[in-house]
């Protein structure tokens, strides 16, 4: 039973880093092989210390060095940046400009705040199982687009600890993308602008009246979840504000007027009823169909925090850090079970330490490096390890290929 109060005091954090944080797994994932390579040694780490002091350009030779420094500084969280042309910690001693980002996982950040205008269940920092539906939908769309259209395979999704999710893509080719190419890729995946000011601005994602194939694919899937997520769970068009928002996407003023009159007169009509009203109208007027499709995309298509993905030097919180406000661990997630994921069921640091205590009492205290194996953190670490293994296999295959060619 997770304790209600959130304890992320320095003592708790230190114990967590000492006994539970899977440094070795993080190392393998970033490094792609067992012997430390540039992918790890030239990698920037940034620490947020107690009292919001921010320490950038840290770098380490191996996992143990990283662990030692983390335990010494005891940060509230730390972030992972790009692989530079030199060791980031030498920044001050090398020629200015000689430190430039070379490689970096392609990363994405989806945050619930970008859905604040349409979600009805929670506000601000809150997140529940219902709003997770939006995130899950976004994950499915992005995941299949990246795999199918861009051909990348080494994807891992990580819960951000509160109300969002991160995606890290480690394919060799994705790591080497330039900022310009990242920007293009983000452009491809962006269909709607989430911020308040622009939401009324209709984005034209059609060309010649047709949806491009990538959005058609997304739409096929989004159609299947629209009913449950938008109509029944979120009840987006229940309130007057909600259905007015819907009506603004319809350009035909006669349709808008007749729907508005109908809905004003019977305020008890549910979102489903209202959507059915619209569908009935559309069956009589086929030129409304594209509008309906646009509405589905508008309400369910992923809303990306584009700035995160565009630049190689953007820092992103490392997996398995503790979110300081919730105490939850930023755990990797499996796409297959993303729909069933419950943010409130994620282990918190307090809960993990309690589990450790319980084990300690049973077995007599022997502190080992992989204490996480005995806690509920295990399935999540296993997930990352499995992912890292596939990265390592890839590198080994590459190496063997070059060996043969000699």
């Amino acid at each position: 039973m997770p304790s209600a109060e959130i304890d992320v005091s320095p003592e708790v954090m230190l114990t967590f880093y000492r006994r539970l944080y899977p440094f070795k797994s993080i190392f393998n994932w970033l490094n792609h092989e067992h012997a430390p390579s540039r992918l790890f040694t030239h990698r920037e780490f940034a620490f947020t210390l107690q009292g919001d002091v921010y320490l950038r350009y840290q770098s380490f030779n191996n996992a143990d060095e990283l662990k030692r420094q983390v335990c010494q500084l005891n940060p509230t969280r730390f972030e992972i940046g790009p692989v530079y042309s030199a060791r980031p910690r030498d920044k001050k001693t090398i020629r200015a400009g000689a430190l430039s980002p070379q490689q970096r996982e392609l990363v994405f950040d989806i945050d619930m705040t970008d859905y604040d205008l349409i979600r009805t269940c929670c506000k601000d920092a809150g997140i529940c199982k219902k709003c997770w539906g939006f995130i899950a939908a976004a994950v499915h769309v992005i995941d299949s687009a990246i795999r199918d259209e861009f051909g990348y395979e080494k994807l891992i999704w990580v819960y951000s600890g509160r109300r969002g999710i991160h995606l890290w893509i480690s394919d060799r080719e994705a790591m080497e993308l330039t900022d310009q190419q990242r920007k293009s890729l983000v452009g491809w995946l962006t269909a709607i602008y989430p911020t308040a000011k622009e939401s009324s601005k209709k984005l034209n994602f059609r060309s010649g009246g047709k949806l491009p194939p990538s959005l058609l694919n997304a739409l096929q899937y989004l159609k299947t979840i629209f009913g449950e997520l938008i109509l029944s769970e979120q009840d987006c068009f229940g309130s007057e504000e909600g259905y007015e928002d819907l009506l603004q996407y319809i350009s035909d003023s006669r349709t808008v007027e007749s729907l508005r009159t109908k809905w004003e007169n019977s305020p008890s009509r549910s979102s489903e009823d209202k959507w059915n009203d619209l569908l009935r109208m559309a069956s009589a007027r086929p030129n409304l169909m594209p509008t309906l499709e646009d509405i589905i995309i508008q309400y369910t298509y992923p809303r990306l925090d584009a700035e995160v993905s565009k630049h190689r030097n953007h820092l992103l919180k490392a997996p398995f850090c503790i979110h300081p406000k919730t105490g939850r661990v930023c755990v990797p997630l499996d796409v297959a079970s993303i729909d069933k994921f419950d943010p409130e069921g994620v282990p918190t640091v307090g809960q993990l330490l309690q589990e450790l205590d319980a084990i300690g009492r049973e077995e007599g205290a022997t502190i080992s490096h992989s204490d996480w194996e005995k806690t509920s953190l295990k399935p999540y670490v296993d997930l990352l390890d499995k992912h890292s293994q596939s990265l390592m296999d890839e590198v080994r295959k590459e190496k063997r290929k070059t060996d043969i060619s000699w």
Partner: protein, 402 residues
């Protein structure tokens, strides 16, 4: 220049593509001049690529074919089988405005998506498994991207080799001069022409006096509204600040003093927080550290809010006449001169009006038709003021000799 020890360089300079007609790679000298910082490289690549695009689109036929043949662009034609497999996707991705049944089906080329980032960004291409299926009508996208990539690589390689040239004292000054003019966005004509003529440093308290004697009406107007209101809005500050920086060679310390004095109604704290940064920015000491040039007449006439535009254009005829008289009567402008000036204004020849005012107010040494020297008319506020200062100096020296 690169014979001998620098053999490796030539491989990159003489590009794998021979130069065909107007479709050229830029001159080596340019590569040398613009390779030396990230910023320079970026701007140079952007400018050159734009030029290349214009030439490419312009240049039908032989040159282009020769260029395309000269290099392996490494694209694969999409075979009929794949063409059938993705038929619906192609139709959705590349809608045709008017379907023509007789039209031969379009050819497609397959390249890695990273080769056509512009098409990807606008979702104007069909992607599958990391491959972009580019229709032949978008083929130029691949070529442009290739050109850009090649140029970037050549610049980077040059940059790496450049330190070896550091000891050459003949070359570097030339390179510096070339690249600086480009960064400023204008030729070096007005960026430091006056740094040398003003040997005595201009101090903040001298500006008021200088304004009355030498400034064109646009800057006079800014100066006077600054004195009157103890304030200028952002664009006014920018325009006037850059003018002072360049024409008077006002140092940043003196500029801060000048603006601090002029903004007498605000607190030190507010000044430091809200204004000082912008002053330092315009001197290239903050932010992107660009050495901004002063605005020319053309920029003042065409851009920006009208209150800081060219007064000959924005003022009503009555206001303009009043302003001219109050500003320049001390230097010899009389009401009788006004009709001629107003006639030029009326026919929208604002620079002619401004030039005439210059001639009248400097009648001791300038005849009608001389303009700001050699019969030129005013094209830049700095040119007006610079010439005025120069004339005064010459007159003074002549007196000293006597």
């Amino acid at each position: 220049m690169f014979k001998g020890g620098h053999g490796a360089l030539d491989e990159y300079y003489v590009p794998q593509v021979a130069n065909h007609g107007v479709l050229k790679y830029p001159h080596r000298m340019n590569l040398l001049a613009f390779c030396r910082s990230e910023d320079l490289r970026r701007r140079f690549v952007k400018a050159e690529t734009t030029l290349f695009k214009v030439r490419y689109d312009d240049d039908m036929g032989k040159d282009r074919d020769a260029f395309l043949d000269s290099r392996d662009f490494n694209w694969t034609s999409v075979g009929p089988e794949e063409q059938r497999q993705y038929k619906t996707e192609f139709e959705a991705a590349y809608p045709v405005s008017k379907p023509e049944p007789d039209r031969p089906s379009e050819k497609y080329y397959k390249v890695k998506w990273t080769r056509v980032p512009d098409l990807v960004e606008r979702r104007k291409v069909f992607l599958k498994g990391g491959w972009a299926y580019v229709p032949s009508r978008e083929q130029s996208s691949i070529v442009f991207q290739e050109y850009e990539t090649h140029l970037e690589r050549a610049l980077e390689i040059t940059a790496r080799l450049l330190p070896r040239l550091d000891e050459d004292t003949r070359l570097l000054p030339i390179l510096n001069n070339l690249s600086q003019g480009f960064l400023a966005g204008v030729s070096s004509e007005w960026s430091n022409a006056l740094g040398s003529t003003n040997t005595d440093e201009i101090r903040a308290e001298m500006i008021d006096d200088m304004a009355k004697k030498h400034f064109p009406l646009c800057m006079r107007t800014l100066h006077e509204s600054l004195q009157r209101d103890n304030h200028l809005k952002h664009f006014g500050r920018l325009q006037y600040g850059l003018f002072l920086k360049v024409v008077l060679g006002l140092s940043v310390e003196e500029a801060v003093t000048f603006w601090r004095k002029s903004f007498s109604r605000i607190t030190d704290d507010k000044f430091n927080k809200e204004y000082k940064y912008n002053i330092r920015h315009s001197y290239g000491l903050e932010g992107k550290r660009a050495n901004y040039p002063a605005k020319s007449c053309l920029q003042i006439l065409t851009g920006g809010p009208s209150e800081y535009g060219c007064p000959y254009r924005t003022f009503s005829p009555e206001n303009l006449q009043a302003a001219l008289l109050s500003s320049y009567s001390q230097q010899g402008l009389r009401s009788a001169d006004l009709p001629e000036i107003m006639a030029a204004v009326k026919s929208s020849h604002f620079h002619v009006a401004c030039t005439r005012v210059f001639e009248i107010t400097h009648s001791a040494s300038v005849k009608k038709g001389d303009g700001v020297g050699g019969g030129e008319s005013v094209t830049h506020p700095n040119q007006y003021a610079a010439r005025s200062i120069e004339l005064e100096k010459a007159a003074k020296e002549a007196m000293d000799v006597e």
